[in-house]
C-alpha cells in the first residue's frame, strides 16, 4: 500500500516537473502578449515580470512552484491574474460529467462490441469494422461528421450548449465511440484466446450447451484484463475531451487546456496537467486494487 502511494506521488512529481520545464523551452508567455497588445512599454512589462517573480532564475521559480503545489496551490493565471484553482474549479464539473458518461457508455459498448467481433456469428464483421473505425479514425473527424449529419442536416440533436441534457448526446456518443475502441479490441483478443483454451474444449466435451460455455467459460475469464484497459482509457478520455469540448462548444477543462496552451498561460496548463496526472494515477491504482479483488490468483 505504501509502495503504491509512493509510486503515485513520484509519478505526479515527474509530470509536474516535466511540464514545468517543457513549457519554458518555448519562447514568450501570456503576460508579454497581453501587455504588449494593450500598449504597455517594455519597461512596464519588465516591471510586472519582476513583481511576479518571472525574472528569477528557473530553479527559484521551480522551487516556489513545488512548495505551492505541495500545499495544493496551483498559482495564478498569467493572462488574467485569477487563481488557477478557481479557474479549474469553475470548469471541472462539465468535464467530469462528459468523461464519466462517455466511460459509462463505452464500457458496456466495448464489451458487447468486442464479444460480437470475437464470436463466430454472422455479425462479427460488423463488430470488427466498428472496432477498426473507433481506433483509427480521429475524434475530430467523427465529431465534425456527427455535427453535420445529426445537428445540421437531420436536426435530431443540438451540436452545442450545455444547459440541456440533449446537448450531451452527440458529444457523449462521439467520445464513447472512440473510448470503446481499445476496450473492444482487448475484449476481442481475449475472448478469441480463451476460446482456444483447453478448459473450454473440456467444457464442450462435457456436453455443456454452447450458451453456458460462452458465458461462463469464455467471457468471465476473458474480461479480467479489460479492467486495466478501462483504467488506461482514462488517459484517452483526458485527450478526447479537449477535442470534444472544442467541437461541441462545451465548457470544460479540455477547452481550457487548449486555450491556455495556445496562449502560453503556463500556470493554468501546469495546473491541468497535474490534476490530470492525479486522476490518472488514482484511477489506475483503483484498477490495480479491483483487479486483486476480482482475480483470486493476484491475492497470492
Amino acid at each position: 500500500m505504501l509502495r503504491l502511494l509512493l509510486s503515485a506521488l513520484i509519478t505526479v512529481w515527474l509530470a509536474a516537473s516535466l511540464v514545468f520545464v517543457l513549457l519554458r523551452i518555448l519562447p514568450g508567455d501570456a503576460l508579454e502578449g497581453q501587455l504588449l497588445q494593450g500598449g504597455a512599454s517594455q519597461t512596464r512589462i519588465d516591471q510586472v515580470r519582476d513583481e511576479l517573480g518571472l525574472n528569477d532564475s528557473l530553479s527559484t521559480q521551480y522551487m516556489r512552484y513545488m512548495v505551492a503545489l505541495a500545499q495544493g496551490d496551483l498559482g495564478f493565471s498569467l493572462a488574467n491574474g485569477r487563481s488557477v484553482n478557481v479557474i479549474i474549479g469553475e470548469r471541472l464539473w462539465p468535464t467530469v460529467r462528459l468523461a464519466g458518461l462517455a466511460l459509462a457508455v463505452a464500457v458496456p459498448l466495448g464489451l458487447a462490441c468486442g464479444t460480437l467481433a470475437a464470436l463466430p456469428t454472422v455479425l462479427n464483421r460488423v463488430g470488427q469494422v466498428a472496432i477498426m473505425l473507433a481506433i483509427s479514425v480521429p475524434v475530430y473527424w467523427t465529431g465534425t461528421l456527427a455535427i453535420i449529419l445529426f445537428a445540421a442536416q437531420l436536426r435530431w440533436f443540438p451540436a452545442s450548449g450545455s444547459s440541456d441534457w440533449r446537448a450531451l448526446i452527440l458529444p457523449v456518443a462521439v467520445l464513447s465511440f472512440h473510448t470503446m475502441g481499445e476496450i473492444a479490441r482487448v475484449t476481442q483478443v481475449n475472448v478469441q484466446a480463451t476460446q482456444q483454451q483447453f478448459f473450454v474444449t473440456v467444457a464442450r466435451a462435457r456436453g455443456l450447451t454452447s450458451g453456458i460455455v460462452q458465458w461462463r467459460y469464455i467471457l468471465r475469464p476473458a474480461l479480467l484484463p479489460v479492467i486495466s484497459v478501462i483504467a488506461l482509457q482514462a488517459g484517452f478520455l483526458i485527450g478526447g475531451t479537449v477535442i470534444t469540448e472544442m467541437l461541441f462548444v462545451r465548457a470544460g477543462i479540455g477547452r481550457l487546456l487548449l486555450d491556455s496552451t495556445i496562449n502560453q498561460d503556463y500556470p493554468v496548463v501546469q495546473g491541468i496537467v497535474v490534476l490530470s496526472t492525479v486522476v490518472y494515477v488514482l484511477v489506475n491504482t483503483l484498477a490495480d486494487l479491483t483487479y486483486r479483488l476480482v482475480d483470486p490468483r493476484m491475492r497470492v
Binding site: Q37, G38, N80, I87, E90, A151
Partner: protein, 530 residues
Amino acid sequence: MRLSTSLLILLLVILTACGEEVETPERAINYGLTLEPSGFDPHINQSSELGIIFRQVYDTLVYRDPTTREIVPGLATSWGISEDGLSYTFTLRDDVVFHDGTPFNAQAVAANLERIFDTSDPGLASQRSRFMLGSFNGYDIIDDNTIRLRLSQPYSPLLDSLSQVYLGVGSPAAFEEYGRDVYQFYQVGTGPYILEEFVPGDRIVLRINPDYTWGPAFMSRPDNAPQQITYRFYTDPATRRPVLEAQEVDVIGELVPTDARSLVGSSDFRILPTPVAGQPLQFLMNTTQYPTDNTTFRQALIYATSREEIVDTVFQGFSPVAWGPLTANTLYYSRDMQGVYPHNAQEARDLLASIGFEDMDGNGFLDTSEGDLEVVIVHASWGFLPETVQLIQDQWREIGVRAVLEPVAGFPALIARANEGDYNLIAFNSFGYDPSLLNEYFLSNGSNNFTNFRSPELDELLLQATRELSPSVRRGLYGQIQAAIMNQALILPIRDYVNLNAASSTVQGLEFDAYGWHPVMNNVSILNES
C-alpha cells in the same frame, strides 16, 4: 454483477440529471462568438470580441454614429474643447441610472477614471484603456453633471477613445463590491442590456434593460426587441456554418469564406460582410534584416504578389484588395494608395536585376553568395494566414525568390518571434477607427515597430497628426504618412479585413458600428416564425 449494474445506473442518473434547465423568454437570440478571450473586463482586457458582448452593457460618454461616422452625444449631451486642446469639458445626462440603481453622474465618471488608472494590483491588466486616454493627466468635477478631463498635451484621438467600449462607464457601487479579478462576472453599466449570467467557458447571458431611454440618437428599440441574448464560443471555424444551419445560433461571426459563399442566396440566412476599420491583413517587412533591408527589394516583393489572386481564392472575393497601411473604411484613409505597386512580375524581376540579383546556378531561384536567396515569413496559424502565405510562396517562385514559411502557434509565440528580430516578413496588425493606431507600428520607438524602420521625419508626421485637432489638417498629414510608408515599402498589404457575419433571416435590423466588430443590438428585432 447486480450491484455493479445498479451502481452504473445510479452514476448515469447523477451525470445526466444535473443539467440546469434554463427558462428561455419568448424572444431570445443566440449569438456565436469565435474566440473566448482570457478576460472580459473592458477596462482591463482588450480583445475586440469582448466588445461584441459588453458594447451592449455599457454606454460611453460619446458614441460614433455607425452611418455618419461622426462623434455624437452619449452619456454626455455636449462637450467643449479648450482653445489649446488641453481640456475637455463634458456636460452629462441627469436621467441615467446604472443597472444596479446607482445614479450616473460626474462622480461615477471619475470613479471609472480612477479604476482605469489604479495601479495597486500587480498589473496583469492590459494597458489598453489607459493607453487610449493618451496624454490624460487628471480630471475636475465641476458639478454633479459636469466633468473636465485635463491633458498634458493635445491628443486628437481622445473623443474616438471615449466612444469605445474600453472606456465604457461602469457602476462605482459595483467596483466597490467586486474586486478587480471578479468584477468581470458582475459587470454593471447603463446600457440597453444587463449582464445576467456568466458561466466561464460556456455562455454569457444578457437580459434587456426595460428602463433604457437614454441611448444615442441612432439607437431606437423596436417593439419586438430580443429579451435575452446568449453568447457562446464557437472557436472551431468548421462548426460555425453547421450550428447556424441547425438554428442553434441566430447570429455568428467569422464564417469560413467558402461557407459564406455557399450561404449566399439562401432564404434562411443572410450574410452580412462587415468591413473592419484599422490595418489590413499585412506583412511588416524587416528593414534591418538582409535582404529586406533594401527598399528596391521590398518594392519588388509587393510587385510580385498578386493580391487579387489571394482575395479570390482564399477570401472568396469577400474582401477588397488592400493597397496601403489603412483599410478603406478607416478615418483619413487615402484614396491615393489605390493601385500602388500593382501585381507585375516583370517589374519585380527588373527591380531585382537592377540591384544585382541573378540566378547563377540555373535552379530557378536567385542566388546569394551562400546559396539561394531566401525570405523568411513568420505568421500565425489563424486568419487564413497559412493559406495566404502558401500562395505568396508560389507567386514569389516566379520571380526566383524562395519564401521560407515559419508558422507560430499562438499570440505570445508571435510576439516572442517578433522581438527576436530574425525574420524578413511578419504578419501583424491592429484594428481601430482612428489612424493614430499607426503610431505603435511606425514610430521609431513604437512597441509594435516590427519593421525596425526609424525615421525622424515620419516620427514627426505621426506625432503631429496625433496632436493636431483640425480634421482637414489631420487628413493631409495622414495622406503624407500613408504615402511615406508605401514609398519605403515598409509593409506588404493584402486585404481589408471583412468580418463574415451571418444571421438567421428572422433577425432584423442587425448593423455593426464603425469599428466593424460590434453590433448595435438595441436596434435588432426578431420576426416571429410562423
